[in-house]
């Protein structure tokens, strides 16, 4: 008996030590592989220079800007939309439509990103091109619109979850005292659910930043610093997908690991932030 228990304990802990090691290995491996570049070119240079391999410049600044541009814009589009939808689900609560919307949102989580990318290429890009009479339609705006759709369910589900977690007794109190819906939202729900909302935003932002296919397929992938939302741009993730075919010994290839490290650190910071918000008692 005892013996079985001990063995099981070892097996379980071994499994999780291994899984945890994978997380660290991903970072460690990338750092080791990018060491040669880090040694002769300062990390800072790589982060600030433009990308022009023909001229021996291997900076990833345009990709960092592109990543931030696209993901921030998608967040900007998606946030009010998601907030509205979660208010619809949790607060306005029309009987049928409310539940239907929730189902639709849950279903949205199951739509593959490549499908969004595919529809983006054939539906959204031509519309954007003809609407704005500018560029190819493969641009930051198109990618952000599709990404906004991709990250909306993350936010809506987290928002409505944190709305729902506001104790029923608080809501009952406001109801019984004759408060209306806006007052309920303003005085009770938002003050109690803001952590959840912030967590939702951070996770959605991470999701937008980490997505490869939508940006790769519909943002145009040009390496210039974008100046408007109708400009084409390249994200770090798309950059990795595009350059992966390069010569393994070239500097270009090694720079990929710096892209990877950058992405890793950015999303990890987000996660740590989200967790530190989540854990504190409300």
């Amino acid at each position: 008996m005892r013996c079985k228990d001990t063995i099981a304990g070892f097996v379980f802990s071994g499994a999780s030590v291994f899984s945890a090691a994978v997380t660290l290995a991903v970072l460690g491996f990338m750092i080791v592989l990018s060491l040669p570049v880090l040694k002769n070119a300062v990390f800072f240079d790589v982060l600030t220079a433009p990308w022009s391999p023909d001229h021996g410049q291997f900076g990833i600044l345009p990709m960092i800007v592109g990543t931030l541009y696209i993901s921030l814009l998608s967040l900007l589009i998606s946030f009010p939309l998601s907030l509205g939808c979660s208010i619809f689900i949790e607060l306005v609560r029309p009987d049928g439509p409310g539940r239907l919307l929730k189902k639709i949102v849950q279903l949205m989580t199951a739509i593959p990103t490549v499908v969004y990318g595919f529809v983006g290429v054939f539906l959204l890009v031509p519309i954007i091109r003809e609407w704005f009479v500018y560029g190819s339609g493969m641009c930051i705006l198109s990618a952000s619109l599709m990404l906004a759709l991709l990250i909306a369910p993350t936010m809506i589900l987290l928002f409505s979850q944190s709305f729902a977690r506001v104790p029923q007794s608080y809501l009952n109190a406001v109801d019984a005292l004759g408060g209306n819906m806006v007052q309920k939202l303003w005085y009770v729900i938002l003050p109690n659910a803001w952590r959840g909302i912030l967590t939702g935003i951070i996770l959605a932002f991470g999701r937008a930043m980490g997505d490869t296919l939508i940006a790769l397929m519909i943002s145009g992938n040009c390496v210039a610093l974008p100046s408007s939302v109708l400009d084409s741009a390249r994200t770090l993730t798309a950059h990795i997908a595009l350059i992966i075919a390069a010569d393994f010994d070239s500097i270009e290839f090694k720079i990929l690991f710096i892209c990877g490290i950058t992405l890793y650190l950015m999303t990890s910071c987000g996660i740590i932030l989200a967790r530190s918000l989540d854990r504190k008692p409300g």
Partner: protein, 294 residues
């Protein structure tokens, strides 16, 4: 009354948001359905090969989705094969064995793992392969095995965390029942705790399967190719549905290939939605509802 006016505005705002979102989603789905439903047929999957021959692997399918679907299925099976035991064991460890600090640190790590962009996981898998190829064996290439290992790292945190959370959310009462009757820790876990939290765990697993089936970025870097036929061994390259869609979207050469792209996108959508339905059904079946009571 001013009160009511604010209320109305909030309602209108939420209705507009809902309308926009639902329209957008239906545009996406509707676009695929309208354009793609004609393409969906046995021919789309098997082209000119007899389905029976293809399924028995007697003949290769060219110009159909069968190899890509077979590739995706093998990917899912293999990566779940790696991720499931590892994930369940780790989840159990975190929920039932780990001391507080260890639990805190490990679950932070797993959250980070869940947040790592899939392309970075792919990059990791790819560079591991190159590394092994150089220093270990010339016979190691980007292949089905590598891709499914990388995918399993991608979905591992989902399985771990859902297992952990469903176990942890069991009330103390349930947790103490079996020990009180003389059960050992292991008996308690396998006879009571796991069965009681099955619904949560299964729906986590189904979501992980969905992720394996849909992820493109990882396999793009670890062995998915344009043409490979049905994978013959875990050491060969493979086709996969999501990669096929990506490939067709950018390099279709004629109308019929484009239609195949639509068809493939629709089929992948249906598969993902089906998996979602399964997980939803499971959740509903097991869920105990707590009504809102005063």
């Amino acid at each position: 009354m001013a009160n009511n006016c604010w209320d109305k505005m909030l309602k209108i705002f939420s209705w507009i948001c809902t309308f926009l979102l639902v329209t957008a989603v239906f545009m996406v789905i509707g676009f695929l359905v309208v354009k793609g439903y004609k393409a969906v047929s046995l021919e789309l999957i098997f082209a000119d090969t007899r389905p029976f021959d293809a399924l028995l692997l007697k003949r290769q399918v060219f110009g159909g989705l069968f190899p890509a679907m077979a590739g995706t299925v093998s990917l899912v099976v293999l990566s779940m094969g790696f991720a499931l035991p590892l994930g369940l064991a780790s989840g159990i460890f975190l929920a039932e064995y780990a001391p507080f600090r260890v639990k805190w640190f490990f679950s932070l790590l797993f959250d980070i793992l869940a947040g790592i962009p899939s392309i970075v996981v792919g990059l990791f898998g790819f560079s591991i392969t190159i590394f092994l190829h150089h220093f270990f064996s010339e016979q190691i290439f980007p292949c089905l095995l590598i891709a499914s290992l990388s995918l399993s790292f991608l979905v591992l945190p989902y399985i771990i965390r859902t297992t952990q959370m469903s176990l942890e959310s069991l009330p103390l009462q349930v947790r103490l029942t079996a020990p009180c009757l003389g059960a050992t820790k292991l008996e308690n876990i396998f006879l009571v705790l796991l069965p009681s939290s099955m619904s949560g765990i299964i729906s986590g697993i189904v979501l992980a399967i969905g992720r394996c089936a849909e992820d493109t970025a990882v396999i793009m870097l670890t062995g998915a190719v344009a043409t490979a036929g049905v994978p013959k061994s875990i050491f060969s390259s493979f086709e996969a549905l999501p990669f096929y869609i990506y490939y067709m979207a950018s390099e279709y050469t004629d109308h019929s290939e484009l239609m195949q792209g639509y068809g493939a996108a629709l089929i992948l959508l249906i598969i993902s939605a089906g998996l979602f339905g399964v997980s939803y059904g499971i959740k509903n079946r097991f869920a105990t509802k707590i009504p809102n009571r005063f």
